[in-house]
Subunit: 253 residues, 2 copies
DNA sequence: TAGTGGTCTAGACCACAGC
DNA sequence: CTGTGGTCTAGACCACTAT
């Protein structure tokens, strides 16, 4: 029952009570909450108010609703820990790129689909790649799957001048991936930088990554620089935050 | 007006239409949306349906509602870009730690409050610090502010054995911060690792960081290792994702 | 078929901002 | 005082899941 004199909105009281029962283990991970109509009777409020309360927990990612089945306590997702030393040249020579390296290390069956096209650079792209806005760039748009489930979106952009006549403009870049083709063309990679942020997914990203509402995405923009310091490639990656953790390591001095 | 034959829920149609007008610039950053009662007439749906639509945009972080004033297009937050070179020994010697180094670089007035206490290590802490669960750890709980606004929460834990008799157990760790005190005590830092994730804030974090609903937090667990490879300190940081971007850089080989 | 969540209505009253 | 968002009601009907 809710306290009508506290000044706290009823739906927040209900949400807080349910949240407490979940964290206390009274509703275990994976278990079903009472139906909305049952909660109406338990708390003595109308159904829209119960729905407001449940929606609070949904946007917090604590529960998921399944149409026709019920509302369930979301079990903690298994997290893939990815460390960044995977980008060594040695690893690139062994296999077909960073994502397949992860797959090998983590033991899942990888697959991906790629679209290649050519665009004029927008301001952001031009800034990262140190070219003029409007210059032609090669765009590789990838959807990566683990055991059939989409786990990562990546859009890679390179100055067209670097990719002409190479397999980077093909769907299949061949053994070692795009980085290997760059190095064969004489563009040795000297340095990587990654810029990491987080935000809520766009509707398209949410459906592509099959994340439930309330789960943010991690955004990573990786820039590969040549040994002369010139940018060779930028790669915008979008990862579901409930399935990934990124690790970085460096010497203290 | 909404299309009742499309099968798409009315509130999603309204949300999509508003989102489009916002990204197209028809409602500029900082500007006010039409009132909910105006939108009721515009789209021909009831007020709760309009509220559902606006709530979609709120959880996406696109708009913010201000009670009694209106709904406003959220201006892009100014993002602080933090790169890892802030942890150089040189920087540590110049000032009082990583956060103050950021402040100096970015030109805001920093302040922070600290609580120090001692706890028994839980399993996670014991795992990171390579000690036994139940061993005593020194806990430094910090709230960091920029120009008075809370921008970062950090909880630092060290094995008590390393901090006894040092200023690390004081609220004021003195010039150079906790890392400087560790090195004075003979524990030279050899390596850092950072583990980065993202999630929705807990209600406490949301109010402490004053993030609007729908903005995720970035979590960073930094572990400092001694030159012998033994963990010296772990630091759990929570950053509002709309105000931070993290950068990491490394050599290709 | 019964039970579940998903959507929607047409109101009502309250709390806050600003003139 | 007016206009704004915040909360809440008591229903209704639909779409999906499971038996």
């Amino acid at each position: 029952m809710v306290d009508r004199t506290s000044g706290v909105p009823a739906f927040r009281q209900v949400a807080a009570d349910l949240r407490e029962k979940i964290t206390a283990g009274q509703y275990a991970p994976g278990s079903q909450l009472p139906s909305e109509r049952d909660l109406v009777e338990t708390y003595g409020v109308s159904r829209p108010t119960i729905r407001d309360a449940v929606n609070v927990l949904r946007t917090e990612g604590i529960v998921v609703a399944e149409h026709g089945r019920g509302v369930f306590v979301r079990p903690p997702a298994s997290i893939q820990r990815i460390s960044r030393n995977r980008l060594s040249r040695e690893a690139r020579e062994r296999n077909e790129g960073a994502f397949l390296a992860d797959a090998a290390a983590l033991g899942f069956t990888p697959s991906s689909s790629v679209k290649v096209n050519f665009e004029a650079a927008d301001n952001r792209t031009a800034g990262y790649l140190d070219i003029e806005p409007g210059d032609e760039v090669t765009v590789r748009d990838r959807v990566m799957r683990a055991n059939g489930l989409v786990v990562q979106l990546a859009v890679s952009r390179l100055p067209r001048a670097l990719t002409r006549g190479t397999a980077i403009e093909e769907v299949d870049t061949g053994k070692g991936g795009a980085y290997a083709r760059l190095e064969e063309a004489g563009h040795l990679i000297g340095r990587f930088a990654e810029h990491v942020g987080a935000r809520m997914p766009t509707p398209q990203e949410a459906s592509a990554l099959q994340v439930t509402p309330g789960v943010p995405v991690i955004t990573v923009t990786r820039v590969a620089y040549g040994q002369d310091g010139k940018p060779l490639e930028m790669n915008d990656m979008v990862l579901p935050a409930d399935r990934y953790e990124l690790s970085y390591e460096w010497e203290a001095d």
